[in-house]
Homo-oligomer: 259 residues x 3
C-alpha cells in the first residue's frame, strides 16, 4: 500500500481574488498543521470540467507518490451528485463525481464519501470544497483516514467530451485550454501527430506546420509545436494566438499529413 | 492564554501580479523560517475596507486557534493612522487602524504598534505591509513577541458602513463583494432572511425568490441563495449575475417577505 | 561558504491561471519534501526581461541568506540559450542566460548548467522551468548539489535596457512596471531624484512634483513619490495613474529640478 506523503495538491476553478482557496487551506491546517499544501492551479475556466480534467491529467504525475490531489471543479454543487475518492498506485484523488477525474479512473478504485460521517457541520449547500472535499483530503493526507473508511464502493461518472478522433489520415480534437500567454492548447497528443508525415495543424481557417520549437519561426508568426503538456499547441511567437485567431475553448482542431 | 500556532494568514488588496506579497513572506521567513504562511486572499478590491472586512469576518474562524491574521488593506498608508494588534481568544489580528478588523473588535483587546521599536529600518512611507505589519505578525506567530509588548492600549477606529438595516418587514443591505464567478454577495445574513416567509430579494430593479440551492433553477437563470459566507447572494446558475444585472460593489439590496 | 537555507523563491511570468507554477513546485517537492517554496511573483509581463529583472532586483535582499532564487522569464526557450546559476554571498540565482539576473551579476560567480546531467528526462522543448530550472534549484536548496558541480564557468549575457541616464540637471528613465493599483513605477532611484532641488517628474506630457507620501494630496490627484522599491513612482491617490495618463511599460520619464 502507498503511504500518505502529507502533501495535498489543490486544483480549483475558484480563481484567487476571493478567500475560497484560503479557507479550504485553513480547514486542512486545522486538521493537521504539518500538511504541505501546494496550489496546482485555480484558473481553470469556471465550471469547465474539460479544462480541469486536462490540467489534472497532464500534471499529477510530477507530484511525489502518496500525494492527495484535491480537485474542486463543481458545477453540480447543491445537487445530488456524490463526492468521491479514487485510489491509484500514485496516491488519492478527491473530487465531485462529475468526470473531472477521468484521466485516472481507468486504474482506480473508487469510493463515494460518506458525507454524514466526514463533512464539517453545518454542511453548506454551496461550498463543499470547504465542508466536504478539504476535510476528506486533509485526513487522507495526514493518515487519519484510510481509503477503505471513506464510504461505499462506487461506479463513477465518466467524462466523454475530451476524446479525440482519428479517421483515416486526420486526427480531430479541440482546444481544451488557453494559457496565460494566449497559446491555444489542444487535446491532440504530440505522439499521435508525430506519426503523420510532415504534420499540418488546421484551426480557425488557418493551416500551420508542426515545428519542433518556437525558435523555428520569427517573432509574431504562427507556429504549431508539441508543448509541455505533450499535446499539439498553436502559438504566436512572442504573441497571443488566441487574439490573432480570435479562438477560444472548444474550437475544433485537426492534424493531417502535409506530405 | 492562547499559544501562538506558528501560522500567519495573509489577506491583502495587493493582487498577485507584483512581488509585494512575496516580499512580505520573505520578511516573515527571515524572522522565523518555520512559520506556516497561508494566503487567505489578495483580490479584495483596491483600498475597499468593506470587502476586506467582509473577507476576514467570514473566514477567520476556519483557521486554527492561535493563528495570527495579517490584514493589509491600507488606503491611509503615509498618513498618521496607527498600526494595531487585536487579541481575541482565537488569536491575533495585525492591521492598519482603519476599521478593517471591525468584525472582531467587539471582543478584542487592542494595542497600537510601537513602530519605532518593531518596524524594519529604514521605514518606507508607502509599504508598511513589509516594514511594519509583516515583522510584527511574524514575531507574534513565532512567540518572539507577546501581545503586551506590542505597544500602548488603544481605542480603535470603527467601520460603520457595513451594517444592515431592518425596518418593518424589510432588511436593507448592500453588495459587498463580487466573486470570481460574478456572484453578487450581500451583507444580509441568511439567518435574518430566513425569518421572513417566502423571502424575495430585490436588487437592480429585479426580484428574485430565495431558494435553498443553485440546483433549483435552470442554467442561465437568476437565483438567490444563502451562500458559503452565510449571507444572501444573487447568482446566475452557470453564469455571471454581475454581468446580467450590470451591478457591482455597493449596489443596494433588500429582502422582503413574499407571502 | 553560504549554507543552503532550504528555501526557494519563485519568480515567473507564467501567471497563475495555468498549472505551470504548480508543476514546478511538484518537481521540487519530489526532490525534497521539506523545501520551503515561496512565490515571489508570477505576474511579470509575458517575456518582459526588464520587469522580471526589476522585480528581482528590488526584492531579493528581503529573503534569508542562503535562499535559492528561481527566475523563469524565458522568451528564448527552445533556442540555444544557456541555463545558468549565479552565486553571490546572499545565495543562488537560477535562470535562463538572458540578462534577467542583471542586478546581481556584478558580484556573482556564474556557471552554465550541464543540462545533460541535471535536467529531467525526457527534456521538453517548451518548458525548461519544469525540466531544467526547478530541479537544479531544488537540488541546490536542499544541499544535494553544490555550485561547483552545476557545470562549467560561463560569461553571462548582460541586460542593457534598464539603465537610466543623468545629463545635466535631468535624470531620464522609463516606466518598468505598472502595479495592481495602476501605479506607474519607474527605474529612477529615489536617492538620485532627491539630490535635485524641488524635483519635478515629467511623463505623458504632465509634470508632477515629488512628494514625501500619498497622504500629501487629495483623493483622485496625481502624485509622485519614492515608493517601496525605492524608485520614483507616479500614482493617483485612491485611483489608477495608468488609466488617467494612458501610459504603460516603457513610457519615458524624466526628473528635473523645479527650483
Amino acid at each position: 500500500m502507498t503511504q500518505a506523503a502529507g502533501i495535498v495538491s489543490v486544483l480549483t476553478d475558484f480563481g484567487i481574488r476571493d478567500p475560497f482557496v484560503g479557507v479550504m487551506k485553513a480547514v486542512m491546517l486545522s486538521i493537521d498543521r504539518d500538511l504541505r499544501l501546494v496550489d496546482l492551479a485555480h484558473g481553470a475556466r469556471a465550471q469547465d470540467l474539460v479544462e480541469g480534467e486536462f490540467f489534472l491529467s497532464t500534471s499529477h504525475r510530477f507530484f511525489p507518490t502518496g500525494t492527495v490531489h484535491l480537485v474542486v471543479v463543481d458545477p453540480g454543487v447543491g445537487t445530488e451528485r456524490k463526492a468521491i475518492v479514487a485510489q491509484t498506485s500514485a496516491g488519492w484523488f478527491v473530487a465531485p463525481d462529475n468526470g473531472v477525474l477521468e484521466c485516472i479512473l481507468g486504474d482506480a478504485r473508487v469510493r463515494a464519501v460518506d458525507v454524514a460521517r466526514h463533512a464539517l457541520t453545518p454542511l453548506s449547500r454551496t461550498f463543499h470544497g470547504r465542508d466536504v472535499f478539504a476535510p476528506v483530503a486533509a485526513r487522507l493526507a495526514s493518515g487519519q483516514l484510510c481509503f477503505d473508511d471513506v464510504g461505499p464502493e462506487h461506479g463513477p461518472v465518466r467524462l466523454e467530451s475530451s476524446s479525440i478522433d482519428s479517421a483515416g489520415d486526420e486526427i480531430s480534437g479541440a482546444v481544451v485550454s488557453v494559457d496565460h500567454f494566449g497559446n491555444l492548447i489542444t487535446n491532440i497528443p504530440g505522439v499521435e501527430a508525430a506519426r503523420l508525415a510532415e504534420p499540418i495543424v488546421r484551426l480557425g481557417g488557418r493551416e500551420v506546420a508542426l515545428r519542433s520549437t518556437y525558435g523555428n519561426v520569427q517573432s509574431g508568426t504562427l507556429v504549431a509545436v508539441v508543448n509541455a503538456y505533450e499535446t499539439v499547441e498553436v502559438a504566436v511567437r512572442n504573441g497571443s494566438a488566441a487574439a490573432v485567431l480570435s479562438l477560444a475553448h472548444g474550437a475544433p482542431v485537426a492534424v493531417r499529413s502535409g506530405a
